[in-house]
């Protein structure tokens, strides 16, 4: 049985950054965005370590703000470095997608 976790690991970061790029947002909202896009297996537990890594690498910055639900929430915003990283990620993704299509559809490389 195919284990898709490795495939997911490589793409989660880019997807999370893309959601954050659209607007300043928080963990649960990012999770909802992921689920709407079709990522049904993710939880906040999956997202938080990735958000930590992105913050450590300064691709996003975080700020705590008051929330209507009670505890203060961490809101994430993409940085310039994050935008550059996202652009590179998407470029590499497109190359990979094309390669996969060529291989699996038996199309000639154009």
């Amino acid at each position: 049985m195919y284990d898709k976790t490795q495939l997911m690991r490589g793409s989660l970061e880019g997807c999370i950054l893309k959601i954050i790029e659209k607007q300043t947002t928080y963990g649960y909202e990012i999770l909802m965005g992921m689920k709407e896009a079709g990522w049904i297996d993710v939880s906040e537990g999956t997202l938080y370590p990735i958000l930590l890594r992105l913050e450590k690498q300064h691709y996003i910055k975080a700020e705590k703000k008051a929330s209507p639900l009670g505890p203060k929430r961490k809101y994430y915003q993409i940085t310039e470095a994050g935008k550059m990283y996202l652009a590179e990620f998407y470029e590499n993704w497109q190359i990979l997608e094309h390669t996969m299509l060529v291989l699996f559809d038996d199309r000639k490389d154009t």
Binding site: G27, Y28, S43, E44, G45, T46, Y48, P49, I50, L52, R53, E55, K56, Q57, H58, Y59, K61, A62, S67, L69, G70, P71, K72, R73, K74, T79, E80, A81, G82
Partner: protein, 222 residues
């Protein structure tokens, strides 16, 4: 550990276990404080939404492992200076306590007469606080009810071992020169100050970078 008053029993137990486990991981202590606050906020929001701890975090141990992998680590120098400082502090306090009780005799002799039993006791305390508690917390997600045995067995092994071996290695009464005590206290202060300074420096570097809203990848990345 943050105030868990808002959490129900299930979430509180999970959160406390995560705290214990993350204390054994190599994370900058100030960053760890922030992380634990974040995890508490995630738990509180998860609870408010009616999700179970498993639905919120997934596998707890894997979650903590991923968090520690992606957090800013403590440098080797920070860790060594902290543990060395703590070790020396224990003995500094012990020496100073003995000095207070026997100041006149010590000044007359020029050295402190230090009991082997006291040395064993403090050394055992240090190993219990560091090594045994590390093992106890490391297995936070496994055999929770059996973990108390780790402390009991650890205490028996370390304490018993010390009292069995010490008579062959140390005299019943040790002559500790006052200069040596002074050096121990001095090095203790230096080590603890160094650990404190390094920890805050790395934390501040991270915060400063955040506040200047990063433009390029930087040397702080690990």
């Amino acid at each position: 550990m943050k105030d868990t008053g808002n959490l129900n029993k299930e979430y509180r137990q999970v959160y406390q276990t995560m705290c214990e486990y993350l204390y054994t991981k190599n994370i900058n202590k100030l960053i760890r404080k922030d992380i634990l606050a974040d995890i508490l906020a995630i738990a509180e929001e998860g609870q408010l939404r009616g999700a179970s701890p498993h639905e919120t975090f997934g596998d707890y141990e894997s979650f903590c492992d991923e968090v520690s992998k992606n957090a800013i680590a403590e440098t080797k120098l920070e860790t060594i200076s902290l543990y060395l400082g703590a070790f020396l502090m224990l003995f500094s306090l012990s020496f100073l306590k003995e000095l207070l009780f026997s100041l006149q005799t010590t000044l007359q002799l020029g050295y402190l007469l230090y009991d082997r039993a006291d040395f064993c006791m403090y050394f055992t305390d240090f190993l219990m606080i560091t090594l045994v508690m590390y093992i106890y917390q490391r297995y936070a997600f496994h055999l929770p009810k059996m973990r108390i045995l780790i402390i009991i067995i650890g205490f028996i092994v370390i304490d018993g071992g010390m009292y069995l071996i010490a008579p062959y290695l140390l005299p019943a009464k040790m002559h500790i020169p006052l200069l040596f005590i002074g050096c121990i206290c001095f090095i203790c202060v230096i080590m603890l100050s160094l650990s404190y300074w390094l920890r805050h420096k790395h934390y501040q570097q991270f915060l400063n970078y955040k506040s200047t809203s990063g433009g390029e990848n930087d040397v702080l990345q690990k």
